[in-house]
Amino acid sequence: MSSVRLDGITKRYGHTLAVEDISLNIAEREFVTLLGPSGCGKTTLLRIIAGLIEPTAGRIYFDQQDVTYLSPRARNIGFVFQQPALFPHLSVADNVGFGLSVKGVRKDVIAKRVEDMLALVGLSGYGKRMPAQLSGGQQQRVALARVLATDPRVLLFDEPLSALDRNLRETLKYSILDLQRKTGKTAIYVTHDQTEAFAISDRIVVMNAGRIEQIGTQMDIYLHPATPFVAEFIGANNSLSGVVTSVQEGEVTVDADGLRIHCRPHSAFREGDAVLGYIRPENIALLNDKDDHDVHHIGYINVFDGVLDRVIFEGATAQVRVNVNGRELRVDVSGAQRLTLSRRGGRVRIGFNDVTLIPKPA
């Protein structure tokens, strides 16, 4: 178990920057996820931490030790790949014992450790089988046992669930979290799937185009996205662009092409600032006509009338498009209300409080 510190890591391939000046501190026992779209540099960064790629500039420290130029072998890491990558010519037990065997550990010690590790991942008694005889999920469990057997300082995961089907992903992501908690390892996990990242992380690092966009907890990233990229990448979002028209006691009023929106932002804005506003579809309520007499009584500082454009019933939720003065807003409806929506063309009233404001980039 080590803390991990990245200091100005940069990787350049010819003229393209895969990773640009990334500094990051990861505490001992922490579970940190690198989240971003494909090609954002998250896998490159993970492979740099593992030592499979040498950075063009910057330093990597495990605890106080500078490991920047150490081979993966000398770093004592556990790397779980996208594919289980079990050695197909070795039995499950020999796969799990591989890391100890190459270090020259005695056979009986290895056998004991292999048994413990297989029990840990719930595959006791599978030792004699060959990898090809296991299902994809079982293979990935063996891969986990294999990296844990060497007692690594840091666990690195490169989208380990992306090759599995959905149900398996659900259960296995919690197994990974459980194992990390039980063993107390520091873990760095790469994924492009935000529900996965939200489910298992202590902190999430959102990356885009080789840079870090935001580091924070699930709540930070969901409620207070720091950049337009994060606001648009995490969940679905309605975006508006406008100008701040008044600031009063922490309440900011924004004029977005004639739509007057009130919000209580986290950071300070001044009149005349150009801003981007984001309203999450799940934070907008469809109001009944009965509610229409007193806006403040029902607790919404923004209330608009609109026309129901489209209703997409998705099962657990319904996605509704509401046209407000020619601007389409997405509203996600859950609960019993979703079952009684008129199909389209009806007049509706919507209300919302939470608006994320971000200064418009120049």
Binding site: A50, L52, S71, P72, R73, N76, I77, G78, F79, F81, Q83, A85, F87, P88, H89, F98, G99, V102, K103, R146, V147, T150
Partner: protein
């Protein structure tokens, strides 16, 4: 319409006939050879020719095996690192280098023989020796080992090597415990091709062999030239054919046919 004479049935018969005809063309000469090798002095059926093979020709077969095995070992030592370097590293001129390394395959045996005699005698001042013969065989046959090994390595995802490294394996441990076992079939295919070629090579051998070595193919050649075609010589030829055939069968048994795709054996 008569089912027996439907178009489909006729094509079936025609294609079968074609296959059997081709098979006959290939098998006929060998069948004739086997028949001749089983003929006694008065034209009767006899096994005594084969007794002769394992008597007076043992030494020749022994030399053939010995030269083949030494060649295989040296080929292995050259081809494994060469293939790894060609597949896993990027450098300018890589494809050109591979083309150059495959060149001996396209050089006629006689040209290779003369070139080697010149090189050994006049450049290195080596008189002909057993090692000279082995090296000549290596020069002519190592591309046969290199090519299947390169193909097998290209098919092997690099993730296995990365996994081994991350688990703490050294480069050598990664080669021996992961890479070589996983490209085993490719290496096996290469060894098989090399063995068959070297075991049966006689033209290059004639050029560079020392006087005290007579391999089986050279013996067959000498006997036919000096004594005409005797049933005993035919028996030696049959034995050589059977050895090559067994090598192929053994390979099929262990690895199946897929690793020989693209070679002239399949």
């Amino acid at each position: 319409m008569n089912r027996l004479l439907s178009t489909r049935r006729l094509t079936d018969i025609a294609s079968h006939a074609y296959i059997w005809l081709l098979l006959l063309l290939f098998v006929m000469p060998f069948a004739a050879l086997v028949n001749y090798s089983l003929t006694g002095p008065r034209g009767e059926f006899a096994l005594q020719n084969f007794a002769y093979v394992f008597g007076s020709f043992t030494e020749n077969l022994g030399w053939s095996f010995r030269i083949s095995l030494l060649t295989l070992l040296i080929n292995l030592a050259i081809s494994l690192p060469a293939a790894y370097g060609l597949v896993r590293y990027n450098y300018p001129g890589k494809h050109l280098l591979f083309a150059f390394l495959s060149l001996p395959l396209y050089v006629p045996a006689a040209v290779l023989g003369i070139a080697l005699v010149l090189t050994f005698n006049f450049t290195y001042r080596l008189t002909t020796s057993e090692w000279g013969l082995v090296l000549a065989m290596v020069v002519g046959s190592f591309p046969l080992m290199l090519t299947p090994t390169v193909v097998a390595l290209k098919d092997l995802p690099i993730v296995f090597e990365e996994a081994a490294q991350c688990l703490g394996a050294s480069k050598w441990q990664t080669y021996w415990r992961v890479v070589f076992p996983l490209i085993g079939p490719g290496i096996g295919a290469g060894m098989l091709l090399c063995f068959i070629i070297v075991f049966n090579e006689y033209l290059v051998t004639l050029f560079v062999k020392p006087t005290f070595i007579t391999t089986a193919p050279v013996r067959v050649f000498n006997l036919v030239r000096t004594a005409g075609l005797l049933p005993t010589t035919a028996a030696l030829a049959v034995v050589m054919q059977v050895i090559s055939f067994l090598a192929v069968l053994l390979f099929f048994r262990i690895y199946g046919t897929r690793y020989l795709k693209g070679t002239y054996l399949l």
